[in-house]
């Protein structure tokens, strides 16, 4: 029993230490972002653009597919069900609650994490293992500024943009399925119901959620790749940890946002 408690305690302490280190890494990255805002823009801006293309533009097709599928499944099914019970006016509330407040930012963040998180860990872990980080330091180039800041900014912006696109595709496909399934809901009424259910707080909430998810996922990926020395064979393990820790972080943050939402929306 004591042994079990000891193992559990060590595990909990290990996780708390990890959270502390990621927190410290986040503060360092934030500090470097602020203090080096105007430093080497000709180097950093192209890196941010490259990251947006990689994490955002190239993922647009898959986001379009997922958004369309979500629209068909959630909005389409919900519309049909509400039509059967004569409660079509609730469609706006349902879409706002399920899609805008919850699914869009979470899904976009998970897609980006799955497609970009692992390569980020591998790239940074390899750079660290090959000594490229020390090479940057020797050249007077801050490795956080050159390697981490562009990735965090690019991925954060990408998750926000992809959340919006996912939402648009879901709303469009949801209305299309209502047309196909003979649910009498004109486009104006459909959009009107959504607009009626939206509150002004939903816009900053969507932005805050998607930016936070993107930033946190990117920071965890960068931390796992860069913050401690890795041997080449340790890189795949770090990639797996990134996905697991990010998913847990997203769910915890989602719960925090829900509490904030309940406090501010009431």
């Amino acid at each position: 029993m004591d042994e079990l408690a000891g193992r559990l305690g060590r595990r909990v302490l290990g996780q708390l230490e990890m959270i502390r280190q990621i927190g410290a890494f986040t503060l360092i990255t934030f500090g470097v972002t602020v203090t080096k805002l105007g430093v080497a823009p000709q180097v950093v801006r192209p890196l941010i653009r490259e990251q947006i293309v990689r994490s955002g533009v190239r993922l647009l097709p898959i986001i379009a597919f997922i958004g369309t599928a979500l629209g068909l499944l959630i909005i389409g099914q919900t519309l049909r069900l509400l039509h059967q019970v004569g409660q079509q006016e609730l469609v706006g509330s349902l879409i706002v609650t399920v899609l805008i407040r919850e699914l869009a930012p979470l899904t976009a963040a998970l897609v980006v994490l799955a497609r970009v998180g692992t390569p980020t860990v591998v790239e940074l872990g390899t750079a660290r293992a090959l000594g490229e980080v020390e090479a940057l330091e020797a050249l007077g180039i801050d490795p956080i500024h050159y390697l981490v800041v562009p990735r965090v900014m690019g991925i954060t912006i990408a998750v926000f943009a992809l959340s919006v696109y996912l939402l648009l595709f879901a709303l469009a496909s949801g209305w299309l399925v209502s047309v196909v399934s003979n649910v009498s809901l004109p486009l104006g009424t459909y959009l009107g119901q959504i607009a009626g259910a939206l509150r002004w707080q939903d816009f900053p909430l969507l932005a805050a959620k998607s930016l936070t998810f993107g930033g946190v996922g990117a920071l965890i990926a960068c931390y796992q790749g860069l913050a401690r020395p890795l041997r080449l064979e340790e890189v795949p393990g770090a990639a797996t940890r990134t996905v697991a820790q990010s998913v847990v972080a997203f769910l915890v943050l989602d719960a925090v946002f829900l509490v904030l939402q309940l406090l501010t929306f009431s």
């Binding site: 360092i28 080497a40 000709q42 490229e132 020390e134 050249l139 007077g140 180039i141």
Partner: protein
């Protein structure tokens, strides 16, 4: 001696990791402007760690490090003053020079110029073209740096370090494993750098070099030292048949190549 001290170690302990047993103890050593040090020692004797400590990559386990008369401490984040000091020193790592494998040969050399001078990569590539030519890297300019041969990688690392026009160049075992033609090129290039090469606008560069074997640097280096049994020992200072002889034996060495 009129030359100014550029790097000073005072009672320094040299350790590979923070808290680890020092590889070298009590190193008190001054590098003066114009010196050409050759440091020899067996594998694991602490040469590379010593050089990385001199370059401010690793902290001293004990004692002090001074750059250009100013105390330098390794910190997590450097202020602009420390960053400016750091640019006056160049470091070439051993074993391929730790080039940035994602960038091309030309981009590796141009990156520090673009970063510190605030110019675009295109302009930095243009500005570093003469340096690239001096290193015979023109034909490899577009190649990914991680895919060129080891000897060429080492030159890329040299170019990257020279791009910021450092006053002191630290070279960690630069010729280890290189074939005779590369070795000859390095000997001649470093002699020219020490005397004032066109790539540094004729300004002599202070050199500190480590090597497994001192023989290739006999008659080229000016000062010799050795790391052995956790101790630092200066072997000869200066070597009589030094730089001037080496230059006189290689006519045309200092002729402009850029």
């Amino acid at each position: 001696m009129n030359a100014l001290p550029v790097i000073e170690l005072v009672g320094a302990g040299i350790s590979a990791e923070v808290g680890a047993e020092p590889l070298l103890r009590g190193v008190s050593w001054t590098v003066f402007a114009g010196d050409f040090w050759v440091i020899t020692g067996s594998h694991g004797s602490g040469k590379s760690v010593l050089l990385e400590t001199l370059a401010g990559i690793r902290p001293c386990a004990a004692g002090n490090l001074r750059w250009f008369g100013q105390p330098f401490q390794v910190t997590g984040s450097e202020d602009s003053g420390q960053s400016a000091l750091r640019r006056r020193l160049g470091l070439v790592f051993e074993g391929g020079g730790r080039v940035f494998s994602q960038l091309s040969v030309a981009e590796n050399i141009a990156l520090p110029v673009s970063y510190h001078d605030g110019c675009s990569m295109g302009e930095a590539l243009y500005r570093t073209a003469p340096l690239r030519s001096a290193l015979d890297l023109d034909r490899l300019a577009a190649a990914p740096a991680g895919r060129v041969g080891r000897g060429w990688m080492q030159r890329v690392a040299l170019g990257r370090a020279l791009a910021l026009q450092p006053e002191v160049l630290l070279l960690d075992n630069p010729v280890a494993g290189l074939d005779p033609s590369h070795l000859r090129w390095w000997q001649e290039f470093l002699v020219a750098l020490a005397a004032g090469h066109p790539v540094t606008h004729g300004r002599p560069v202070t050199l500190v070099l480590t090597a497994d074997d001192a023989r290739p640097w006999d008659g080229i280096g000016r000062q010799f030292a050795e790391t052995r049994d956790r101790a630092w020992q200066v072997l000869a200072e200066p070597v009589p048949s030094g730089l001037e002889d080496a230059i006189s034996q290689r006519p045309g060495l200092l002729s402009p190549t850029v």
